[in-house]
Symmetry: C3
Subunit: 205 residues, 3 copies
Amino acid sequence: MLHILYIVAITAEAMTAALSAGRRDMDWVGVCIIAWITALGGGTIRNILFDHYPMAWVEHPEYLLITAGAALFTPLIASFMGRLRKLFLYLDALGLVVFTIIGCQIAQDIHLPVTIIVASGVITGCAGGVLRDVLCNDIPLLFRREIYASASLVTGGVYVAIDHWYGNPTIAMLAAAAIGLTLRLLSIRYDWHMPKFIYRDKWEH
Amino acid sequence: MLHILYIVAITAEAMTAALSAGRRDMDWVGVCIIAWITALGGGTIRNILFDHYPMAWVEHPEYLLITAGAALFTPLIASFMGRLRKLFLYLDALGLVVFTIIGCQIAQDIHLPVTIIVASGVITGCAGGVLRDVLCNDIPLLFRREIYASASLVTGGVYVAIDHWYGNPTIAMLAAAAIGLTLRLLSIRYDWHMPKFIYRDKWEH
Amino acid sequence: MLHILYIVAITAEAMTAALSAGRRDMDWVGVCIIAWITALGGGTIRNILFDHYPMAWVEHPEYLLITAGAALFTPLIASFMGRLRKLFLYLDALGLVVFTIIGCQIAQDIHLPVTIIVASGVITGCAGGVLRDVLCNDIPLLFRREIYASASLVTGGVYVAIDHWYGNPTIAMLAAAAIGLTLRLLSIRYDWHMPKFIYRDKWEH
């Protein structure tokens, strides 16, 4: 079940990444690379940080083919993407919670401390999008946007707390997914933002 | 033989990287760091992704000295670089195929699947230049430029295919190098580009 | 002693990173992430390059809490930060030499060659700031600024040389810290810079 959702999530991430690449006039190679890095980069960075090898895409090279296929298919349907925008926002939100929960579970499997389990979820959920924005030469949206990393943090926190208190990973997973998804969708619907810290140097011009 | 070409390639990459740094008015330290990251970054990222330690430059610290020397020598001959531009484009093309083939061979040595062997070649060939452009605050040229990553992909694909069918890594290497180099040089000569995906949001202004 | 200085250094780095994030109007999540990456990123990259696991912040998750606390406290005192600017420049200089020496010691512990011990110091000292600037979409200051990476290089070189000749890591540490700190503070005081390499293509317009 989580595996099917994972495939759906990397496909959706690859397609939204392809749109980002298209906004920067990249060629097909650039579109593919941005799609791979966005869809698979979060898990890759997590694995590097926690010395957890091999990478998912090394064990399952078909992930590279699925995401490349989705990315290269995107230009063909780009003219409809405006109308599908809502659908992709929902799939992206789904991807965020699925990635976060998978990240928490992997950190649990290798017996990392509780704080790091939550961190692993947030890194898995968010780092792909940060890499995408750095490669597209933007300030990562994550640092400026609505409740995104925060939704990932809440998802991870709920998962860890319920799993700890009830000892039932399935219930923890469902509750975390429901709460994280609700929070993310409400933040899109009502345009919620985290407070910003705006700082200007007085001694600079 | 491949080792000598590797030294030539990292030297040439270090020098072109130094020019990139000079375009951004970096100081000598910045010139050195950009040169190291460009020349050695592709192999380093490959090794991180495939858990293949130690790094080449940790085993052979002289690579750091060679590339730093080449980078710091570049400002002295910068006024001639305009005339040498063609030479450096050729050396850069040579570097691309040499790095790609080395990347494929290393992935083969650690028995990775076929798709990943090609991916390893492309990562080794291209990631250094992507890091250079990110650090110089550009959108990576790789994503916008002529047949570059594609030439690396073709080189890797030819290498893997011939090695698989004929079981002769030397012939595979020579054929892959010849075809990859030809493709890259023709793309420079005739200004070939991959088709671009240009996308603009209709709901944005 | 070095451990206490390390805590002081990551706290100071987190606070100056929070100011960088504030200059880019990031929200609280962005402020935290930039602080983590700046304060802990140098050591993390070093550990990845040298396959040295686990990360300090995985073994001591309290580092994540200390740096997040310092970062989130910064907006509250931002209006005083102008006056405290000197203090933070000194703490940042202290952090640079402390990180550099720790980086050298870790590379020594895993028996890396001499050149790589110095490189490990410089990477530990400087890479966090490079990541911060890349994520804030700037050309890394390191590549353009006064004697910063150079001070780290001198610190590492002095440490390695004295430890080699006198075989006394404590004296090496104190001498390296004194010389590195002096060099960095003098370069701030007198606005010393490394010579720049400025290059413009003649065939481009």
